[in-house]
Symmetry: C2
Subunit: 160 residues, 2 copies
């Protein structure tokens, strides 16, 4: 009567999925609360099917790429409501592309911040080198060290 544990009929406990994907029970219940998962029940206990497991994987992937849970839910819903896989795929594709441009934008923002930070660092380093060179924290910028040595750019340390 008992199904083979390795077959697709296999089910999972909340803990098993948590261990496998390094999530917490709280998180899975939260996803359920938000309508992202709807595991079966055995009495009170949640019983996750292979389909549920796949959904969880998709949820976690969505999170890794920075989608919000509600966005993930939209995508997931598409896969359920509709038999026509193509339309869903098209929408997912659109969503993914949008997310990709958002991420690219974020990267540019970060690059901007990095530029501003490096300018500030440079200014601080120069001033410190003038007045209290002993306080200069050892640079975290190995590249600069390397280049200075390889190219003999001693002037960099001299403030030219």
């Amino acid at each position: 009567m008992a199904a083979d544990l390795r077959r697709p009929e296999r089910t999972f406990s909340i803990r098993q999925l948590c261990n496998e994907f390094k999530a917490t029970p709280r998180a899975l219940r939260f996803y359920e609360d938000k309508g992202l998962l709807t595991p079966a029940r055995e009495g009170l206990n949640r019983v996750y099917s292979h389909k549920d497991r796949v959904r969880l994987q998709l949820i976690l992937r969505g999170k890794r790429v920075g989608l919000s849970l509600s966005e993930i839910r939209e995508l997931l819903d598409l896969y359920d409501e509709n038999d026509d896989g193509a339309a869903q795929m098209a929408r997912s594709l659109k969503k993914f592309r949008e997310r990709a441009s958002a991420l690219e934008q974020q990267r540019e923002d970060i690059d901007g911040a990095l530029i501003e930070l490096r300018e500030a660092c440079d200014r601080l380093e120069k001033r410190l080198a003038e007045i209290r060179p002993d306080l200069l924290p050892r640079s975290a910028d190995y590249e600069q060290l390397l280049r200075a040595r390889l190219d003999g750019h001693a002037d960099m340390a001299l403030g030219k």
Copy 2:
């Protein structure tokens, strides 16, 4: 008795600073609440000095590079408490460098997410092209279009 409006003795109203830096009064009051600003008072009204203005600039710069308000406050406090500019600068420098590595890490995370997203997009595009090519949303990737035209890489569109 009134000081020249262009001199360093000049003061600013909350609105003036808000307009200049595109912030909201609520924000400035919030910063004050958090101990980042301590403008003088004229009766109840806040009166911002040049020093306050500079602090605000530093706050906003800090935000642009992704520092939290509490981190910004730490840095700001250093500039006040201590007469010895060098030690503060050294600490700021350290903080900035830390932030820079954090940002670099973030960038790598984003790159990872982008890779995952692009793989997902590619898979979706291929499947869609097979089953419902008409549903393929026009690509958002202008570069690809441009390169394809300039280089005559028609094969890109052929899935070669």
